[in-house]
């Protein structure tokens, strides 16, 4: 994209540096002059919000690791020590814990934007797949982080999630013991989760760099889904989108700060303030809210399917609900990117969003009565959307006419 840069080394020092390591040129091309569609709405600010959230989590996490002890006898107390004794520890621990929730909130909005505006379609498949891999790694990181305080919910989350691997035929149990480092979740498990919880965010950061690289080859999608045709369709990233992103980050920080300052524990579960006890499972265990939809899918399969028993079935659907995201660019057969111009797709899309929220609700509901039936229906629609709606809807749908360019769509609205 060097043709977009207007960079001319001004001083002798800049010229000397530019001939050896052109970092200033690179920053100017990619962070300042990068041509960006001029019609991006606020849903496009969540990428920047997520980048900031990753930094917040890494910085607070490194600080917490300075005071935390990964040993089953001391972990619980060391977290309480951080909250009560360490200078400012109350705020730093709360920022990290609430930060995980805010991270996922932004992540889900970012992904919802992507599904509506068809940002996963050619030529952005690799960009999208890297995004899904980031999502999977962030889930793994969040799960292992949740185990570290070694409360009741930590322990039983670790037990339930590692047990998922035991459902794999033949090699399941050896894998389970390999993951736990014992016959049950115990000190070796806590130690390795701490090690990996420290490592994975940096792997995520590396993938984010690839994600942005893959973004800067085709450039941003936009709300119309129409390709950029000329320089009239774009504005430079700086100052237009640096300012827009900054404003969005500030707005996003308001609820974040409100949670941290006033209700830091509301997103957690009271049982996690009871130290882990391997003999008693809390009466009602639920994962953190951001895992609820997938948890609902996991337990919706309570019946055997042919030779597959109910446990393996649940695990297959649970894993499938995430793996299926990797295939979305090829499942969706519609040549039109943006949902704005697809009259039928919109209905299925919004039903999918409502269905996803319903799955989250059902994941927290007790596994009995009407909830069991509803969980099966919502699980069915989740897969129906990806496997039937995306591939086959385009056969029956007549998209509305697309604007010829981004400029036309913007000006068409502004003029009477």
């Amino acid at each position: 994209m060097s043709e977009h840069s207007t960079y001319q080394p001004g001083t002798g020092v800049e010229k000397w540096l530019d001939e050896r390591l052109p970092v200033v040129r690179f920053a100017k091309e990619h962070l300042m002059d990068f041509p960006t569609p001029k019609n991006l709405n606020y849903f496009w600010t969540f990428g920047a919000i997520l980048a900031i959230m990753l930094v917040v989590q890494i910085v607070t996490g490194i600080i917490l690791a300075m005071h935390y002890t990964p040993n089953i006898a001391m972990a619980f107390n060391s977290v309480e020590h951080i909250r009560r004794d360490v200078n400012g520890g109350r705020i730093i621990q709360a920022t990290h814990a609430v930060g995980a929730s805010m991270f996922f909130a932004a992540l889900y909005i970012h992904m919802g934007r992507n599904l509506y505006f068809g940002s996963y379609k050619a030529p952005r498949e690799i960009l999208y797949i890297i995004g899904v891999l980031i999502f999977i790694l962030v889930m793994a990181t969040a799960f292992m982080g949740y185990v570290l305080p070694w409360g009741q919910m930590s322990f039983w989350a670790a037990t339930v999630i590692t047990n998922i691997f035991a459902a794999i035929p033949v090699v399941g149990n050896p894998i389970l013991e390999l993951l736990r480092g014992g016959f049950a979740v115990d000190n070796p498990t806590l130690n390795r989760f701490f090690s990996l919880h420290y490592l994975l965010p940096f792997v995520v950061a590396a993938l984010v760099a690839l994600h942005i690289w893959a973004l800067h080859v085709p450039g941003n999608n936009n709300p119309t889904g129409v390709d950029v045709k000329s320089s009239r369709d774009t504005v430079p990233f700086h100052p237009y989108y640096t300012m827009k992103d900054l404003f969005a980050i500030v707005v996003f920080a308001i609820p974040f700060a409100w949670f941290v300052f006033f209700i830091p524990d509301i997103l957690g579960h009271p049982d996690n303030y009871v130290m882990a006890n391997s003999q008693v499972t809390p009466a009602h265990i639920v994962p953190e809210w951001y895992f609820l939809p997938f948890y609902a899918i996991l337990r919706a399969i309570d019946f055997n399917i042919l030779f597959i028993d109910s446990r393996l079935g649940g695990v297959i659907f649970f894993a499938g609900s995430i793996v299926i995201l990797l295939f979305v660019p090829w499942l969706d057969r519609s040549p039109v990117r943006s949902g704005t111009f697809r009259p039928l797709f919109k209905w299925f899309y919004w039903l999918f969003i409502i269905n996803f929220l319903a799955l989250a609700y059902l994941g927290a509901a007790p596994a009995e009565g009407i909830y069991v039936v509803l969980a099966k229906i919502t699980t069915f629609y989740y897969f129906f959307y990806f496997l039937v709606v995306l591939p086959f809807l385009p056969m029956f749908e007549k998209p509305r006419p697309l604007p010829t360019s981004i400029s036309e769509s913007v000006l068409g609205k502004a003029l009477p």
């Binding site: 039983w156 037990t159 339930v160 999630i161 590692t162 047990n163 998922i164 035991a166 013991e177 390999l178 993951l179 736990r180 480092g181 014992g182 016959f183 049950a184 115990d186 070796p188 390795r192 391997s278 003999q279 008693v280 499972t281 809390p282 009466a283 009602h284 265990i285 337990r299 399969i301 309570d302 055997n304 028993d309 109910s310 446990r311 393996l312 649940g314 007790p366 596994a367 009995e368 069991v372």
Partner: protein
């Protein structure tokens, strides 16, 4: 080709210890066997003890509970096993099982559920008075650890 093959073997030889260190260590494997005294457990009572880091249920069943378990036809069971197969002869009142639900490993709550045995609060599996799965997502009956009666009141697990 040969160089590549030797290189692959070498890489695997280096990788294996790096993976194998994750497996249960010697101190974990050492806790293989325990003895437990049954005298304190009244009829109808159940306790949870620890074996190899796993919780184990020891339940002193009432005659009514044993009768209830024996009356179930095998055709009604998801994982068919008779009550006799789940206990030891002469000690039918003692039900000794690993206390992790065979679904995803939670500890079920005793004396509850639709079949008077156990109910797992995590995902709603019901077990009967012989610890057999009757309803819900769990695929198997609660697992029996290897154990034998040293005397009428002393049991060795493992």
């Amino acid at each position: 080709m040969a160089t590549g093959a030797v290189g692959a073997v070498g890489a695997a030889a280096v990788a294996w210890p790096l993976i194998n260190q994750l497996n249960p260590d010697a101190s974990t494997l050492a806790l293989a066997s325990i003895e437990f005294n049954l005298t304190g457990i009244e009829e109808g009572q159940a306790v949870t003890i620890m074996w190899r880091g796993l919780p184990v249920f020891v339940r002193h069943r009432t005659p009514a509970e044993i009768e209830e378990a024996r009356a179930v036809p095998l055709a009604d069971l998801k994982d068919p096993e008779t009550d006799e197969q789940r206990t030891q002869e002469g000690h039918e009142q003692w039900l000794i099982m690993i206390a992790n639900c065979t679904h995803l490993g939670c500890v079920p709550v005793g004396q509850s559920g639709d079949f008077d045995g156990w109910f797992c609060p995590c995902h709603g599996s019901h077990y009967d008075t012989a610890g057999r799965i009757r309803k819900g997502p769990a695929p198997k009956n609660l697992v029996l650890p290897p154990y034998n009666f040293v005397s009428d009141t002393l049991v060795q697990i493992g």
